[in-house]
């Protein structure tokens, strides 16, 4: 019953009514961390400090097997977070992100803003240097990765200052991003991935090649996953002049198959190149989306 009251598990649109990005992100993170009782990114960006006696419930992977072999005693290793990890959140601010399938849902951009703010807050609390880059056709905002106080506020301001996209997310912008990420670290791409997969993968492969740990969060409105609508409708691409007249009922099955095929193709391609891929619907509670990253 207590879980139900956790803000990170509520409907994102409901949560968004609580306040601005900061309030929502803080609430989500508090609830999220309370729920898991441990660091979501354990073993990552932390450094060994000391041993302590094993207690039931500790994870076996932290057992020091050498001490167990020598002294036949159970000790677990404890780590200290370090600050030399650089995490950069790449947020797609293209026009297609400012779309929602129903008025009761958040736009993909609004969902991405809050998810990115929550993720940045978690990383900063772990004292990881966290930065933000927003882009559409061009790079819009760049907040360099820092760990100092006030960084989260700068990140949130960067999100707020980035207007809803006026163009399409382009592979050129992704290439430009790679030049901004000189030092190795964690790169989290938050996008609806409505651009050419091969060209985007080229840029992501390059990042991976440069030693970055790359996570792709594929945002999708539920209305984009399942086609529905009036008997006949002319759908127009917000990022171009292209349009097509369809009968959603006739095309629903083929569309669902195509979307699933596209998601599978992204997942397969990312796995092949050592890139973490997560598909997130914008009606998924923020806590569950963050748990995908844990």
């Amino acid at each position: 019953m207590a879980d139900v009251q956790r803000i990170d598990l509520l409907d994102p649109a409901e949560v968004a009514r609580f306040g601005g990005i900061e309030i929502v992100a803080q609430g989500v993170v508090e609830g999220f961390l309370t729920g898991i009782h441990r660091s979501p990114f354990r073993g990552f960006s932390v450094e060994f400090t000391e041993h302590r006696a094993y207690q039931p419930g500790d994870e076996l992977r932290y057992l020091d097997w050498k001490i167990l072999a020598r002294a036949d005693r159970l000790f677990v290793k404890q780590f200290e977070q370090e600050t030399n990890l650089r995490a950069m959140i790449l947020l797609d601010a293209s026009r297609s992100m400012a779309w929602r399938g129903a008025p009761t849902r958040l736009t993909k951009r609004a969902y991405a803003d809050r998810l990115a703010a929550a993720l940045a807050l978690i990383l900063l609390r772990q004292r990881d240097a966290t930065g933000l880059i927003t882009f559409d056709e061009v790079v819009r905002e760049v907040v360099p990765a820092r760990v100092k106080a006030g960084q989260w506020a700068r990140l949130v301001r960067g999100l707020v200052d980035t207007p809803d996209g006026r163009g399409t997310a382009a592979q050129a912008a992704l290439v430009r991003l790679t030049s901004l990420l000189a030092r190795r670290g964690l790169v989290v791409l938050v996008s609806d991935l409505l651009f050419d997969r091969e060209l985007a993968l080229t840029a992501l492969r390059y990042l991976r090649h440069r030693g970055h740990h790359v996570i792709v969060l594929h945002l999708m409105d539920p209305a984009e996953a399942e086609l529905s609508g009036p008997p006949e409708v002319r759908y127009r691409d917000p990022e171009s002049t292209a349009s097509v007249v369809v009968r959603p009922r006739e095309l629903a099955r083929a569309y669902r198959t195509t979307v699933r095929g596209e998601i599978d193709a992204w997942r397969t391609a990312c796995r092949r190149h050592g890139i973490a891929y997560h598909h997130i619907l914008t009606d998924m509670p923020f806590g569950m989306a963050l748990r995908l990253l844990a």
């Binding site: 002319r234 691409d237 990022e239 569309y255």
Partner: protein, 418 residues
């Protein structure tokens, strides 16, 4: 398969409605933004063929549905085992084919009879083995038979000179089928419905017997024909008739007389007149002649056959006194030259008294008044009613009875009185 309400088949036009709606539908669909248009286009590209096929099938299905509804409304009839494979209940059917003379009328190069025969064939062709059939021609005889046999009879039917009384024939046919224990009883009248065939009577048709009149479209044609032909006094008198009040009544036509196929005479005649064509010298016996009029639309009355007998020359014996003989002998010579008589027989005897043993006796007054009594007794013996009287007084004839002979000078001559 046939239909109970074939008029309903007009509704098949409605089967075109789905296709017309499909072609004419020009709705402007609502417009909306949809970012993953690339997925949509890909899905549409992949399923384009399936969707086209589906739309086509849907169109065909809708069209077929309307067509089925229309066909159902037309009440189709299918052959069943109960009806012997036919499309109708067992039927007693009489087909009356009016092949009377008027059916020989030629319209647009084809005899009316051919059209009538086609109609009759149509009536008979729909019959099944479970039906009972009759065919009546202009002779009025009801021929029972199978469908194929009656079809053959129809095919062989020719224009008949007989007149068919339709009213009487329909009445008889209706009685015929009414006597049959069949659920359906029909009389099909295939006729040009000529006025003379309808008569004045009224055909009483029993309840339950359906009479169907089938008549080709027709119009009145001007006609002329050979009304009468007879041979008398070595000539053929031919009467020509024509449709009153038409041009055919006034126009002259050629009349030809043929004997044994050989033309023996020709004349021009207008309808309403009688022409005479002289016959050549013919031997004794029966002769058949053919009178042929120029052909018009109705050919049945353009030809007429006549038959006459030419008697052999009578055999004559003349027993006359030399004083009276020259006149009779000259007359006999003329007749003999014309092969009307022949000397030396006993069929006709010419003398001053009847000859016993002869068929005909020509008695001339005896030259001697004393022999008048003897001649009268011979006449009485032969049953003759006429008698010779005494010679009258010579002088002019006077009297009001024969004004033309008044004043004529005569010498003494015996006279005969009944």
């Amino acid at each position: 398969m046939t239909f109970l309400h074939p008029v309903a088949l007009v509704g098949l036009v409605a089967a075109a409605i789905p296709a017309l709606l499909h072609l004419l539908e020009r709705r402007v669909p609502p417009e909306a933004e949809f970012p993953p248009l690339r997925y949509l286009s890909e899905a549409e590209r992949q399923s384009a063929r399936r969707l086209k096929l589906r739309h086509l099938l849907l169109l065909l299905l809708r069209t077929a549905l309307i067509a089925l509804v229309v066909l159902a409304a037309a009440r189709p009839l299918f052959p069943t085992q109960a009806s012997g494979g036919s499309l109708h209940e067992p039927t007693a059917l009489v087909v009356i084919l009016d092949n009377s003379a008027s059916s020989g009328l030629v319209v647009d190069g084809h005899p009316v009879l051919e059209r009538l025969k086609a109609m009759a064939r149509g009536s008979l062709a729909g019959a099944a083995a479970s039906d009972r059939l009759w065919l009546v021609l202009a002779d009025g005889v009801a021929r029972a038979g199978t469908r194929d046999a009656l079809l053959a009879t129809v095919d062989s039917a020719a224009v008949s000179a007989r007149r068919l009384d339709l009213a009487a024939t329909v009445r008889a046919a209706a009685r015929l089928v009414d006597a049959e224990p069949f659920p359906e009883r029909e009389v099909h009248v295939v006729s040009d419905l000529q006025r003379s065939a309808l008569g004045t009577g009224r055909a009483g048709v029993p309840r339950g017997v359906r009479v169907l009149a089938l008549a080709p479209p027709s119009q009145a044609f001007a006609n002329r024909g050979v009304g009468a032909a007879r041979v008398t006094d070595g000539a053929a008198a031919i009467g020509i008739v024509g449709t009153p009040g038409t041009a055919a009544e006034k126009g002259a036509a050629s009349v030809t007389l043929r004997i044994h196929g050989r033309e023996v005479g020709r004349a021009l005649a207008v309808p309403g007149s009688t022409v005479t064509i002289m016959l050549p010298s013919l031997g004794p016996g029966w002769w058949v002649g053919e009178v042929v009029l120029d052909a018009d639309e109705l050919r049945a009355d353009d030809r007429r056959w006549i038959v006459w007998r030419v008697a052999p020359p009578a055999r004559v014996a003349a027993r006359m006194s030399p004083a009276e003989g020259p006149f009779v002998a000259a007359a006999l010579a003329v007749l003999e030259d014309g092969q009307r008589v022949r000397r030396g027989g006993t069929e006709v005897a010419i003398g001053d008294r009847p000859e016993a043993g002869t068929l005909v006796s020509v008695v001339v007054p005896p030259a001697e008044p004393a022999l008048i009594g003897q001649a009268n007794r011979a006449l009485a013996a032969r049953g003759g009613r006429w008698r010779f009287a005494a010679a009258g007084t010579s002088g002019p004839i006077a009297g009001p009875a024969v004004p033309a002979l008044a004043g004529l000078q005569v010498t003494t001559a015996p006279c005969s009185r009944p």
